[in-house]
Symmetry: C2
Subunit: 185 residues, 2 copies
């Protein structure tokens, strides 16, 4: 489970920052474990209108763009019963993000914040999640509204959104409530 070969094969693309990311003043990086503990499959891709990071909406609620979830055909049977569900969670892999940032300075905001207090794609396991509106399913394609990621982003999972456990309208993020107006998450 902690074999150097596995690390070398799986990790090289993820371990270093991409040219799009650099460490800014105030940021703190940490040493990552020497090997991965488990592996993930990319089960499909997210098709969005955005091919550059600077084009992506800052917040998924800003965009009404209809995006497409393309799952690999072998997983189509797992979509059974999903039709008729209003919203789903998409979990996806932010494969261009550095994984060693512990404190980071968001793009539009000057103060360093802990990675676990942010929804930034840069995190030890770069798994992003978005609750999106499900418009329809046709074969291996799902039409959704509510994504903000790059075209081609690898998909990890689809889950139904259950309001009974997932919806917490009164939840408060302490530092965010105190931020300047228009600062990003």
């Amino acid at each position: 489970m902690t074999d150097e070969t596995a690390t070398a094969n799986l990790g090289s693309a993820q371990l270093g920052p991409s040219p799009e990311f650099g460490t800014r003043p105030g940021e703190i990086t940490g040493a990552l474990p020497s090997a991965f503990d488990a592996g993930v499959y990319f089960i499909g891709r997210l098709r969005t209108p955005w091919t550059k990071r600077s084009d992506c909406p800052k917040n998924a609620r800003e965009s009404e763009a209809v995006c497409t979830v393309e799952i690999d055909p072998s997983f189509v049977p797992a979509l059974r019963n999903l039709q008729g569900t209003s919203h789903i969670w998409l979990l996806y892999w932010m494969d261009r993000s550095p994984r060693d940032l512990l404190v980071q300075v968001p793009r539009h905001y000057g103060e360093g914040r802990g990675t676990f207090a942010l929804r930034s794609p840069a995190r030890p396991n770069p798994i992003a999640m978005s609750a999106v509106k499900l418009l329809g399913i046709e074969g291996n394609k799902l039409a959704v509204i509510g994504l903000d990621c790059l075209d081609g982003t690898p998909l990890l999972d689809i889950k139904p959104y259950f309001a009974s456990t997932d919806s917490l309208p009164d939840a408060v993020v302490g530092w965010h409530a105190e931020r300047p107006a228009n600062a990003p998450k």
Copy 2:
């Protein structure tokens, strides 16, 4: 990225059903890809009162048990600014679940449903997520309410819960609305 050695090293514990799981009538399994596409780090462990699957609450909202998130000390700087946040998402790895079930028959309910229409831990990438109440942080330990998983479950990520994007009180899961009373998710 698609090396057989990596598969062998990372995958053996996850690829087959555990003795706790078996394929029930009506269930459909599929062939998984021959190799993993990326690797995850276990960044900590969830400490809960439940050591057997049968003891776990069926629904996280059923339990008021205070549980502990223990993160590896090297990730403590990433907790900065999290104090004062009322609810967080925990993403964790359901390492005892089979990954090849496409249609499954829930334990207390006789009808086969697609994996992506369920919150079952058995899925191609066994990543579970729970929105939990954050009671406090001390060093590398977070006290939370709202977990339903086994003691020792590996942690993948902590994210702040943002009501503005995560809370959808009117979301409806089609098949669930039509199910018999008391049937599980």
